[in-house]
Amino acid sequence: MRRAKWTPYLLLVPSLFYLALFFLYPMTQAFGLAFSRETQTLSLRAEPVESAATTGALELQTEVVVLDRQQLDETLPNGGTRPSFWYLIQGTDLAGETVEGWASQRSIFIENRRTSETARVTGGEATREWTFEHVNRMLTDFRFSSAISTTLLLMVLIIPAQFVLAIIMALVLQSQVRGSSMFLYIYAIPLGISDLVAGILWFAIFTQRGFLNSLMVSAGLIDLPFIFIRAENISWMISIIVLAEIWRATSIVMIIVVSGLQAIPKDYLEAGEVFGASMWQRLRHIILPLLKPSLQVALILRTILAFQVFAVVIAITGGDILTVLSNETFRWYDPARFNNPSVAAVYAGFIMIVSLAISLFYMRAVRSQDEATKSAT
């Protein structure tokens, strides 16, 4: 270890700058998206050009009377020309005043450019204002509560099972059975498998004409394929997602547990053996307590990732009937669906707050134990 004044900071600057650029800045932007709204008002012009002075402003959807019109020939940057229409319109603004001025066709809807006497305001300049509208939309969305409960349910079902399985895997690897390096590789494989692929894999097993039904029908256990993915019994879909997630994401916990196990001096376990602890007692009184820091890291990591579970759910259930928080984020963001990044940002912020809160809770829970450990100092 070295002590130096500036060198470490210099070495860290590029990374910290990068993280600030891609974490802090988007965060502030997300905040803006979530809590502000764009509204449009049409500024009327004194002359039929964009740069002219304004004579008033009209809200969207205002019905207006067309007083005069002008057809200009606009030359385009690429050399072509297009007709450009301007209208002198009159309407009532927000304050109830009658205002009049020029507006381009871009900003109004008119049935007939050449003959219609009335039109409707359909465009204008964007202005931003603060609003809780998006938060409200999230809270009143009927999928919101089911997304939360499903996400939490998945978390509660998946994480403990993953920990048990990961600890079993780790113990198996630690016991140095023959070919343990091969087993290590196999257990680590899902680490490199995306949730999307995992979802497809398990869908192929549980779909109506999937492998499980193939097996059961071939074996004569059932006559007709059993339909696991059905809205009437959500628990089947939950179970499949749980299986897929356990299958996919136990590896990382296993890796963390194994490296934690490796850090436990063998002496401790032997001392346990000599002093009469059975296998279960050793696990309970020695291994698990000593693994606690590792388990904590894994727990926080898994909890945060559990809030982001996404592609598995989509691949298995289609994503509409059974929904989770990140799926809702995507649904609101998706241009083909709600096309509303603001509500998506609210969802994203919600996910962050909840997962940070849970992580803090874990850390607090840990610290109180640690403090107990150190209190005698």
Binding site: N78, F109, E111, N112, G319, D320, P335
Partner: protein, 433 residues
């Protein structure tokens, strides 16, 4: 062997580095399409379009980004996209921002040699009288398809080309009773919103939007929940495209977009039949889907763009699009008789559906703009809340009606058939607000 893998990996990496998605040749005619996003379809569409000439580039994109792209090009004044192909519902945004050339003259020119469906020409004017925002390109709709195995369970006396929803429910129940499996399929993870918007609501209420929370709508949902859904394959909730379940035999009777049913008809024309959607008390609601071709102002070559549109409207190309992509011609000059068996079956069903005497063509409100997806969510929510979650029908209808009305008001979208045309935002008759 190792080196081979390494080499091919390097080659792939090099490709990614050297040929970034940018373009290569000098100024081809670029045709951006929001249709044929599906992998297999895009390839066939590209082949058809590229027959126009060497320099034509066919690009598929989702609707939102395509609009953003044209917007961005309009801001810079320089554009790469020459022809925009999209569904009717995409054009109001483009029209509202005044991004498109008036194609009145081009249309007149094409109509000199071809008979274009007048209703679609009118749609292309977007409510104006003197501005043709797009030339109708092709049409599609959603129909029913059935495995021949299913026909034996058809209720007695039912005419498959003039079914009612009650008969359909009976049929589904008969299949369930006979096989023990729910053999009817709905694309709940797919176009279920179209099913609600263009078929269920119009068939039972005679309208799509204005009768949203009427007693007839409630009746319709009750029918759907109690009489039909119990005999619909439960795994429908994960079906996006119905061709796969039809082909694998998971379902025997299905409702979907003709293009999404097409692979089944192509692969096994002898196994399937196509037929019109059933009728309800108010008539046979169905949703014609119209796609149009527009020319952005920022095109570098208006003449070439117009030529491409003429080409796309030629009977040969229209026939190819029907045969290979399942979209139907908008001109009358296409010879349907020479189609392959599967396409012919579907074409007949489409024709029967639109020609049926009690037919109610249903179109989405116009002018939803960037929030076009939201109206779909409202119909999906209605379906989910009532059929899947079992919420009270009227409560759901009223609360979703409120959202629908707010959406219409905020966007100023107006009604189209089957709802009476509206001045200003479309209003739900029974007071959504």
């Amino acid at each position: 062997m190792n080196t081979k893998i390494r080499l091919s990996l390097m080659a792939l990496a090099a490709m990614a580095l050297v040929v970034p998605p940018a373009l290569s040749q000098e100024d081809p005619v670029t045709f951006i399409s929001t249709q044929f996003n599906v992998v297999e379809e895009a390839e066939r569409a590209r082949a058809i379009v590229q027959a126009f000439g060497s320099g034509v580039e066919f690009v598929v994109s989702e609707e939102g980004p395509a609009i953003d792209l044209l917007r961005a090009e309009a801001q810079s004044g320089q554009g790469v996209q020459d022809v925009m192909g999209a569904l009717h519902g995409t054009f109001p945004t483009l029209a509202g921002e005044d991004l498109l050339f008036d194609l009145t003259d081009l249309l007149a020119d094409i109509e000199a040699s071809a008979d274009i469906n007048d209703a679609y020409v009118e749609l292309g004017r977007m409510g104006t009288e003197d501005f043709q925002y797009y030339v109708p390109w092709m049409q599609a709709t959603l129909t029913m398809a059935a495995n021949n195995e299913a026909l034996q369970y058809l209720p007695e006396g039912a005419d498959i080309n003039a079914l009612t929803w009650d008969q359909m429910a009976e049929w589904a129940q008969a299949m369930f009773d006979a096989t023990g499996e729910a053999k009817m399929g709905l694309p709940v993870a797919g176009l279920i919103h179209r099913f609600m918007q263009g078929y269920m609501f119009p068939s039972f209420t005679g309208g799509m939007v204005t009768q949203f929370n009427s007693p007839e709508a409630a009746e319709m949902l009750a029918f759907l929940r109690d009489d039909l859904w119990p005999y619909v394959n439960p795994q429908s909730i994960s079906y996006a495209f119905m061709n796969e379940p039809l082909l694998s035999g998971e379902v025997w009777v299905a409702f979907d977009h003709v293009a999404r049913l097409k692979p089944a008809f192509d692969q096994a024309p002898e196994d399937f039949i196509a037929f019109p959607a059933p009728a309800g008390p108010a008539g046979r609601g169905f949703m014609p889907i119209v796609a149009g071709l527009g020319i952005p102002y920022t095109t570098g070559d208006v003449a070439a763009a117009e030529d491409l549109i003429r080409y796309m409207l030629s009977p040969e190309v229209q026939a190819q699009v029907l045969e290979q992509l399942g979209f139907y011609p908008v001109i009358g000059e296409v010879d349907v008789a020479s189609l392959p068996a599967g396409a012919a079956l579907q074409a007949a069903a489409v024709a029967a559906q639109s020609a049926s005497e009690d037919g109610i063509p249903s179109l989405l409100p116009v002018g939803l703009g960037a929030r076009g997806g939201e109206i779909n969510e409202i119909y999906i929510n209605t379906f989910t809340r009532v059929i899947i979650d079992g919420e009270d029908i009227q409560t759901v209808l009223d609360s979703e009606a409120e959202r629908l009305q707010a959406l219409l008001n905020e966007t100023g979208a107006s009604c189209w058939a089957p709802d009476p045309a509206s001045e200003g935002p479309c209003q739900i008759a029974t007071g959504g607000m």
